[in-house]
Amino acid sequence: MNVIELKNVEKVYNDSEIKVHAVRGVDLTFEQGEFTAIVGPSGSGKTTLLNMLGGLDKPTSGEIIIGGTKVSELKGSKLIDFRLHNIGFVFQSYNLIPVLSAKENVEFIMEMQGVPSKQRYLRAKELLESVGLGDRLDSRPNKLSGGQQQRVAVARALASKPKFILADEPTANLDTKSTENLLDIMEKLNHDAGMTFIFSTHDQRVVNKAHRVILLEDGVVTSDERQTPHQ
């Protein structure tokens, strides 16, 4: 089943003097359970594409359909609500609310969804345990390492039971060990729970773990291949 469809998506940044054609005529589909890496040189349009996929930015033309909803046409609080219930986000860094503990950060998103507090607590605990942070429930982000913070972000993304998780260079600020650790967790969640991940990266070792690799060059998809993950 196609979860996500991009139809002839274009993005032109017009605000500065020079027009930037960041994404050009992208047609893509993603299916439930995929584990996809988007790669490409700096400035190739990865972030722009992921932002549009996540409803954080609007395509200049073309359509983005997620689970039957034309996300590219949603606006304002409807769009925010759509994101809350359908998409999980992991950003490159500073993902978490600094004044909330790991557990509270995870609960926060469920609270916005209206999940009762008892359930929130149990699920947050379970999710943090699943990313290996069962012993850091009450730590504030500034007391966690970069890798730990990213794992909390993954737990938070999962907490809302999204259709898929978008991660723009989630490992960019992590050392090798944390990168591996985070990837293992994502892979496991993909494998065990069938969670769909779409992430961008510059890191060849991260690319190697992906089941599908989309190469973006100058805003154009120049290659889209499935692979067997390897080390």
Binding site: N51, L56, I80, L84, F89, Y94, I97, M112
Partner: protein, 472 residues
């Protein structure tokens, strides 16, 4: 974990900024309150001096008296009118008076004077001249006697030398002038008091004598028991003249009055000016001195007074000069406050801007993952509101002891400033107003500033673009 909790914790995130912002609000509120208290206190002081302890809050006059304060515009005041007025609920004092001018002379020296006829008993409830009686006077004689006795330390004698010719109504003021403690130096003070004692009595009900103001008495070089010659014009152009023994000297804080005032009993003044039972004014003080109370009383009294030629005026009507003085000073004061608020506004606004700038990325994250902008705005407003409330409440709190202290121990001005104020006819003190709703107003305005300063950041959140904020 709700929004309030997040907002609350955010406050402690940048403790220093929160503290700086809250304390700048604190100081602003504190200064605003003190400034306002000083303004209101000085109006209160003026009103107390000029109105409460002299003219009364309400006066009954002949309708033409204000424009032409001559004896022709006096009115008949039978005993019955006074007693009826005294029976009105809320009336504290009813004091009939005759005011006229006379040349006062000792034979060699003459001066124009203001003659006031009073009912000695009733007047005690209003201007109470008995309190103003000079009881001590420092003369070279007094000092010579003290030196002889050799009981007073030299430095105090030296200071006394600077006070020659000063008159005092109490030993407290002597101590103050000598800059010595009343309790610690009680022994010396008693000696000085008994050496400098000055005779003089208040008027009795059917006294034929007069009380003379201190400066006037010094100008005329008179003392108790001397006789004064008063001459002037009486009712309907008759000649007024009489001889009056001096019973006492009274000291006014207001130098203008101190230079020219003579008190006599009402019947003596009426017969001096051939007024029969006419008076120039009936001064009335009230239990409730508020504007509302005063206006209500004015209406009540107007209903009581049947004679068409009489009017009932509030002090704001019969003392327009004081009224205007207060009004214009009030405007200036408010302009200063506005300036102060304006400065605070930019202080708060700066904090808000900095806060938004620092947290823009974070705002991008929370909106991206699904937080409604309205909730985010709520957090921001609550944070600022909270800082505002902390600042305002603590500002109010620290102002209270200051208000308390300086209300009861008013700051006494010295030097030229004091001279200027005394020349205007007031005692040179600066009392602060008592705690009242004006304090709440200062707080209210500052909270309003806080809310106003949130408008820009809130707009910024409204227009927040996730992809942009995330890049921040």
């Amino acid at each position: 974990m709700n929004l309030l909790k997040i907002a609350w914790r955010n406050l402690w995130r940048n403790k220093r900024r929160t503290a700086i912002t809250a304390s700048s609000i604190l100081f602003a509120v504190f200064f605003a309150i003190i400034m306002r208290a000083q303004q209101l206190g000085s109006y209160g002081h003026m009103i107390k001096n000029a109105i409460e302890s002299y003219s009364g809050f309400i006066q009954i006059q002949h309708e033409n008296y204000q424009d032409d304060p001559s004896l022709e515009n006096t009115f008949d005041c039978p005993e019955e009118l006074i007693s009826n007025l005294e029976k009105v609920q809320g009336v504290k004092a009813v004091v009939p008076r005759v005011e006229t001018f006379a040349m006062t002379s000792t034979g060699t020296l003459t001066k124009g004077t203001l003659v006031i006829g009073i009912d000695p008993e009733k007047e005690q409830k209003l201007s109470n001249p008995e309190n103003l009686l000079v009881r001590y006077r420092i003369t070279p004689d007094v000092i010579a006697r003290l030196k002889e006795k050799n009981q007073i330390p030299k430095e105090i004698i030296d200071k006394l030398n600077g006070l020659i010719n000063n008159s005092y109504t109490s030993t407290g003021t002597i101590a103050m002038n000598l800059e010595i403690d009343k309790e610690l130096n009680k022994e010396y003070l008693d000696i000085i008091a008994s050496a400098s004692q000055f005779p003089g009595k208040y008027l009795t009900k059917d006294d034929i004598g007069v009380l003379v103001s201190d400066r006037l008495s010094k100008y005329l070089i008179i003392s108790i028991g001397d006789t004064l010659v008063l001459m002037g014009q009486g009712f309907h152009g008759s000649t007024a003249a009489g001889l009056y023994p001096v019973r006492g000297i009274v000291k006014f804080a207001n130098p203008e009055l101190d230079n020219k005032l003579i008190y006599m009993t009402l019947p003596v003044a009426q017969s001096f000016a051939s007024l029969g039972s006419n008076v120039t004014t009936i001064a009335i003080n009230l239990n409730d001195n508020s504007d509302e109370g005063m206006i209500a009383m004015q209406a009540t009294l107007k209903g009581m007074i049947l004679s068409k030629e009489l009017t009932v005026k509030t002090w704001k009507e019969f003392n327009k000069i004081l009224m205007q003085q207060i009004d214009s000073d009030n405007q200036t004061g408010k302009a200063f406050l506005a300036l102060l608020y304006f400065i605070i506004f930019f202080g708060i606004f700066g904090t808000v801007l900095m806060m938004i700038h620092e947290r823009y990325h974070e705002f991008g994250v929370v909106v991206s993952i699904g937080m409604k902008k309205t909730k985010l705005m709520f957090i921001i407003v609550f944070e600022m509101f909270f800082i505002g409330v902390i600042g305002v409440l603590s500002g109010m709190l620290i102002s209270l002891p200051v208000l308390y202290y300086y209300h009861f121990n008013p700051y006494r001005l010295t030097g030229d400033m004091a001279q200027i104020i005394e020349d205007m006819g007031f005692e040179a003190i600066m009392p602060l107003a008592w705690i009242d709703t004006y304090i709440l107003w200062q707080g209210f305005v500052v909270i309003l500033m806080v809310i106003l300063s949130c408008i820009y950041p809130l707009r910024k959140v409204m227009k927040l673009k996730e992809s942009e904020a995330l890049r921040a």
